[in-house]
Amino acid sequence: MSNRWNTGLNWSDVTPERHWLNRRALLAGAAGAGALALAGAAEARIAAKPSPYSTDAAPNTLEDITGYNNFYEFGYDKSDPARHAGGLTIAPWSVKIDGLVDKPGDYALDDLTKGIALEERIYRFRCVEAWSMVIPWIGFPLAALLDRVGVQPGAKYVAFESLARPDEMPGVKAGLLDWPYREGLRIDEAMNPLTILATGLYGEAMPRQNGAPIRLVVPWKYGFKSAKSLVRISLTDTQPRTTWQGLQPREYGFYANVNPEVDHPRWSQASERRIGGGLFAKRVDTIKFNGYGEYVASLYAGQDLAKDY
């Protein structure tokens, strides 16, 4: 584990306050008028413990993270979410939990997460389009939530569903994909301590364009697995069908583990460009499981990852 670098400080602790202020202004601006309450809450900066799972790599700027998003609910272009997500209503928010759980129901987000300690997880984020960033998420292990609702023994998979609200999401209205967006994990992947539900980043509540108010983050898989703005989590005994699989089964598998050895028909996955370096953003070699192999490689023992892509 690389926590010999971990000083017990949050990234936010070593970022000059001036930058924090800028970020806050930017966030409030991006979030629009409806988010005043949230911006107010953000003044207090979310308390989150540092985590040994965090990378020591320097995070991308908030400008990068909030200005370069694939969130097709708001449009195809990576600048569309920042442009169009401002009007998204995120309070009240409820998440339906159903399927093979002891306590199914429609939970208000606050009730669902009350009392669960938040952590800062600085993760590498690798998009299937062969670019990457480093993002200081705030969240908690998905396992903590699943334990709270009680997973029944027959549950083998977890299915996730994102919000699809046409009047606030131009990409949903335009029918860019088969909505709502659906993703899924195998239960052991869902229970892995690296898998988190994120409710913020950079010490602030989650910006709308990044999947407010709550999203999945699975750092060893391509970014599209990390579904945003979750409204439903279902425990199932069969492998759920995901949105991208439905669109292009040959290109997008269920597992979608970051893997330079397994080619995607569209992009070579051998390397990735680190966003943030401007014109000369450096291309670096992609690492299997996005560098998280020591925590997750064992999940796939005996599996042919070229077949289970």
């Binding site: 195809y76 990576k78 569209r266 390397s271 966003i275 014109l279």
Partner: protein
């Protein structure tokens, strides 16, 4: 229309090139003003590809414009074609230098196995002989008929470029499909004219 033509007569080839250089100049300017967004490489790559495709479409519009609207721009077709080639070359060069960053093994693999790259590359390769023969001397050397035949390559090149655009999107987007539809329509129009001319040339049978 005569007035327009009188005005157009004053336009020199260098002026067309100067006009055509504007999108590239704006890109360079935006490098310095930091206005290329969070991923400047993609912005530049996309813009160069877009301009190349637009110029190819512009080149294909010249004949229909003359026949349907009586507007004669044939004098500028060469410059438009050369500019399209230059933008396609820059687009390709940005991909090699800034996107793939001279990782030759990956470049080589992509050029033969990524469908949308293969198709873009084929479109580019088709433009090469056209650019190389874009001089009066070449027309003389090849003879006008052979030269014209060779330059029919613009059509498949444009179709492939549009397919390249359609294919590189992860889902069905409107803009690339609109280009593909437009280019297909232009091609169909030419083929139709050609067929009619063929019919007119063969004596009517009883």
């Amino acid at each position: 229309m005569d007035r327009v033509h009188a005005l157009l007569r004053r336009v020199r080839p260098w002026m067309v090139y100067a006009l055509g250089a504007i999108p590239a100049a704006l890109l360079i300017l935006r490098i310095f003003t930091g206005d290329l967004g969070i991923d400047p490489v993609k912005t530049i790559e996309h813009r160069l590809g877009e301009v190349a495709l637009q110029l190819m479409v512009a080149g294909l519009c010249i004949t229909p414009l003359r026949r349907l609207a009586g507007l004669n721009l044939i004098r500028f077709r060469r410059q438009i074609g050369v500019l399209a080639f230059v933008y396609a070359t820059l687009h390709f060069a940005v991909w090699i230098a800034l996107d793939l960053q001279f990782r030759w093994a990956e470049i080589g693999a992509d050029l033969v196995k990524r469908p949308y790259i293969v198709i873009g590359f084929l479109a580019f390769l088709m433009l090469v002989p056209l650019a190389l023969t874009s001089s009066n001397a070449s027309i003389r050397r090849l003879g006008s008929a052979a030269w014209q035949k060779l330059h029919w390559l613009t059509y498949p090149a444009a179709v492939l470029a549009a397919v390249h655009f359609v294919w590189l999107m992860k889902a069905w987007a409107f803009e690339p499909l609109a280009y593909l539809a437009g280019i297909t329509a232009l091609l169909a129009l030419r083929l139709w004219w050609r067929a009619r001319k063929g019919l007119a040339a063969t004596p009517a049978r009883a």
